[in-house]
Amino acid sequence: MAVEGSLDLFQLPEILQIISQEHKTGILTVQGKEDIVAISFLSGRVVAADALNQTLEDGLGQVLLKRRLLTQESYEKVQVEKRRTQGRLIDVLVDTGALERSEVLDALRILTLDLLGELLDWREGEFKFYGGDEVSYEEGFRPIAIEDLLLANLPQATEKAPEESPEPPRPEPLQERLPPSVPAEPEADPATPDPAAFDPPDLTEPDLPEVTLRPPEPAKIWKPSSPAVEDPGISRVESVPIAIERERATPSRARTARTWSAEAWRQPLAWALGLFSAAALVVVLVTFPSRFLLPMVTEQREAFEESRRTASYAKIESAVRSFALMEARLPDQLEVLTHLHMLSADEVRGPLAQPLLYEVDELVYTLRPLLTEEDTAFAGSLIGDFLRDPALVRDRDARAVAPLELLD
């Protein structure tokens, strides 16, 4: 269903009020001299407004910058990101963390109010209302009550018009042109309509444009002196002028306050967690390399540690045997080998950096890690080593054995 007309006959405040009073859902397009505006209504309240000459995103950007909700630099970065991701500005603002969603929606509301405020100045143009069951709008957007809008723009609605417009023929007040069945001033009892007083409108009057209106419910006629009507459907309603005034006065301070309370502590915490985990990772890597490599498999880790232990002991044994080759005896303690630089201090301590107990008994020595419950001793011996076993050399000379028949 569509309703259309001219602004010469109906001023916008009247049209808006009708829609509000009728709790209409649909889109009102207003075509002025230089622009076209589309206003979305949901149950009589404004949920969106778009202008042809300025995209929503451009307008939103201007609001953000004008009200210092975003710095120029940040805005440009967001634009870069938007171009890169091909996403919507609102989504990009939220995803990049530039603004909270609530802040974006507040800015959008301000933009809508500004646009509607400008629209109220229009005196020439055409309008058309497309009714429907639903309209699309930004999730979380707080609908704007027409009464609040008109109250906020009261000086413009009542004073500006005479200055700006070249005295177009003023239409008759709406209430006078309504069908007689519609009460003009339901002062007696606005809440209790008189169904008997309702008559369908007379649509045949030739001077009037064709207006099709559904039989109205008892409505409140807008009057400048009427107090602001609180829409019970809107939660946490603020008086629009006060809200706007707050936004105009201290937008950055409000944003700063919100930022500090919701956001500021998260980033340092995230950095702290990141640094802590990195430091812990390094500590585990350097101190417990086998646990770092195999944190979840105990058997493999133990096998790996034993393998490292074996390699470490093999190196110690190489040094011990080299010492024995020169001195014809085992070293009394492992520190002798570190003094000779055959082994480093770390190598003498074992692969797990645990101190080693070194015990020597003539030709046999034992290595045993201290401070461990496991019995992982390692024994080395010179016995049987034809280069290092003095007894073997001595016995060879003393033995008298018939030689084998050797071939050349």
């Binding site: 609102i90 944190p295 390699a311 024994a379």
Partner: protein
């Protein structure tokens, strides 16, 4: 103008509860399954290896101890005496005598069929360093080091000792060069080469894991606030609580893995799953690679460990010593270990036969060659060596029969025909046959025949170390044998007897038994290492579940307000902010690898050669690498 609402906001309560429940199950699975011991799957022994091990008749088998004839013992005593004399020459500062003694030592070694004296070479290196550091006698140190190099050319200990001597002289550049030479030699000498290879593999693994962990830490630093907000929202939608309580619970939910053993590592794995939802495509690829690394690192580490254990086993040490011709004090003990492990393997028996032949113990060698031929009638080299025994015993008839058999088994064996011609030529009635055999040899390879004629001028026939040539085959079988989790009880008993009889003559861990490194009675090989796969899968599952609650897949954040120089000095930071996962990981991997390089011995296996403890070369390489890396980053920042 309607906007998409988060799935969580629209999902009915039951679906959210199911998702949260599934997430909890995934988390528990990540903890529980990953902590279970790995499945004790047996390592499969290939059929070929099993067939080879059991192919000999029970009557065959190597003796427990390697018998040494008096002649061999005399030669070994002489080597020992000459070593004592060399030390005397060292203390008296007699380089000429040292030269003579070294020549004598090498001559005696060749008498035993070997070429190098590794133990004495290390001893000479130790004396050289002693002379330089204690007495500042660099001339003596130099000729002692020369002696060490002659006794066993290419030994890494010699190069490391030279590095220490040059450091004592104050020649730092030369010392660094020698240390690099030592590292190079380590990679080519046994067992250092195996351990160094293990170190490199583990270093790569450590670097990959550490850099991946730092990547997750960096992601948390950059995107953690969004994750925190998500967790708060999730908890807030489930239960209605005051904001401070929500924040506390969110923090708890983020940090609970610290309660687990090795908590920091679990924490990073857990965060990688949660941060998956806030990651770009390339970052998700990196995180997936991290999970794959976690799952596969035990497999890689176990493979490296087995190779290292294998290289350190006395049996393997004995094989490699024979292959390289190294005589050292433990050689015979190590080969006895090999005989204990694989007493009936024909390749091992042939190797032992070669050893005895080299020692001049032909009778023992013949007996072992015959055992080989019983099992492997087609083994031409064993037949040739048996023929050589008879040839040297002047039993030319038997020599001919074995050489002829060798030509039948391997019709293209030049040595068989050559030796046959020599055997024929000993009988003046068979000169035509000798010529025919020689012609046949020349038809196959004339060049080789000329070479053989020159090299065997004195002994006339060629013998060949066919057993030593089968070292690769022996290594494979030995690796399988050592990896067998259920050792042969008979072998176990023999090993115990041996270890008990020689009073611990072999280096071994003595935890109440007589096991030794690599011996089958040692701790059984660990089961197949798949124990970290559940943990990795749990992380992946948790990531997928959590991602459903946050379907958006966009990178976070334009470049920060940091200056380019600060971005250059913190690798990966700018890339994480821009959602470039691959760049970030590579940026972290390079400095991580460089920083862990000098710690390689601490993290993995010690490099085997003694005197390799300075590690200054690795620190210098790391330092230069870091300077180049960060210098390049800063230069690019200045240009960009």
């Amino acid at each position: 103008m309607s906007s998409p609402s988060p799935a969580l906001a629209r999902a009915p309560l039951r679906t959210r509860a199911v998702r949260l429940g599934a997430g909890l199950v995934a988390v528990l699975g990540l903890v529980g399954l990953g902590s279970l011991p790995a499945l004790p799957l047996r390592a499969q022994t290939p059929a070929a290896g099993e067939a080879a091990l059991s192919s000999l008749s029970p009557s065959g088998g190597l003796p427990d101890k390697i018998p040494l004839s008096p002649g061999v013992e005399r030669d070994l005593s002489q080597i020992y005496e000459q070593w004592i004399q060399w030390q005397g020459a060292f203390f008296r500062d007699q380089p000429d005598l040292s030269e003579q003694l070294v020549s004598g030592l090498l001559g005696n070694t060749r008498q035993l069929g070997l070429q190098r004296l590794s133990g004495l070479s290390i001893g000479a290196s130790v004396r050289a360093v002693e002379a330089a550091e204690r007495d500042a006698d660099f001339a003596k140190a130099t000729w002692a080091l020369d002696a060490a190099e002659r006794l066993d050319p290419g030994r890494p200990e010699t190069a490391f000792a030279r590095a220490r001597i040059r450091l004592s002289e104050g020649r730092r550049a030369a010392a660094l060069w020698s240390e690099l030479d030592g590292l190079r030699r380590t990679f080519s000498a046994f067992p250092g080469s195996s351990l160094a290879g293990a170190d490199l593999a583990l270093w790569a693994l450590f670097s990959l894991l550490a850099s991946a962990g730092l990547f997750v830490a960096l992601q948390m630093a950059v995107k953690g606030r969004l994750l925190f907000a998500d967790l708060e929202t999730m908890i807030g939608r489930t239960v209605s609580l005051p904001s401070p309580v929500l924040r506390f619970l969110a923090l708890l939910l983020l940090l609970w893995p610290l309660l687990l053993p090795t908590g920091p590592l679990w924490l990073l794995l857990y965060w990688s799953a949660l941060l998956f939802a806030h990651s770009s495509l390339s970052e998700r690829v990196v995180l997936s690679a991290l999970w794959a690394l976690v799952a596969l690192s035990p497999v890689a580490a176990d493979h490296v460990r087995r190779r290292a254990d294998f290289a350190l086993s006395p049996a393997m040490r004995g094989v490699e010593s024979l292959v390289e011709g190294r005589l050292h004090g433990q050689l015979f003990q190590d080969l006895e270990q090999l005989g204990t492990l694989m007493p009936e393997d024909p390749a091992v028996i042939q190797l032992m036969a070669d050893l005895h032949r080299g020692l001049g113990q032909w009778d023992l060698a013949l007996e072992l060659y015959r055992r080989v031929v019983e099992v492997e009638p087609g083994n031409a080299w064993a037949l040739i060596d048996i023929g050589g025994y008879y040839f040297f015993k002047r039993d030319y008839k038997n020599a001919r029969s074995y050489y002829e058999e060798a030509t039948v088994q391997q019709p293209n064996n030049v040595v068989a025909y050559y030796n046959l011609s020599q055997a024929f030529s000993e009988d003046r009635f068979l000169l035509d046959d000798a010529a025919a055999a020689l012609r046949r040899a020349q038809e196959i390879d004339a060049g080789l025949v000329s070479q053989l004629q020159q090299e065997t001028a004195r002994q006339r026939v060629v013998t060949f170390d066919g057993g030593i040539a089968r070292a690769p085959e022996i290594r494979e079988k030995l690796a399988l044998r050592l990896a067998d989790p259920e050792p042969d009880p008979d072998l176990d008993e023999r090993a115990r007897d041996r270890a008990g009889g020689s009073e611990g003559s072999v280096a071994s861990p003595t935890n109440g038994e007589a096991p030794m490194s690599g011996h089958p009675t040692a701790k059984a090989a660990a089961p197949l290492p798949f124990g970290q796969v559940p943990g990795a899968l749990g992380a992946a599952l948790l990531a997928l579940l959590f991602t459903q609650l946050r379907p958006r897949n966009v990178p976070v954040g334009p470049r920060s307000g940091w200056t380019p120089y600060r971005d250059a000095l913190v690798p990966g930071l700018a890339s994480v902010r821009e959602g470039r996962g691959g760049h970030a990981w590579v940026g972290l991997l390079i400095p991580t690898a460089l920083l862990t390089l000098p710690l390689i011995e601490r993290l993995a296996y010690p490099l085997f050669p003694i005197y390799s403890a300075t590690g200054s070369a690795l620190w210098i390489v790391a330092g230069v690498g870091l300077i180049v890396f960060f210098g390049a980053r800063i230069a690019l920042a200045r240009l960009g």
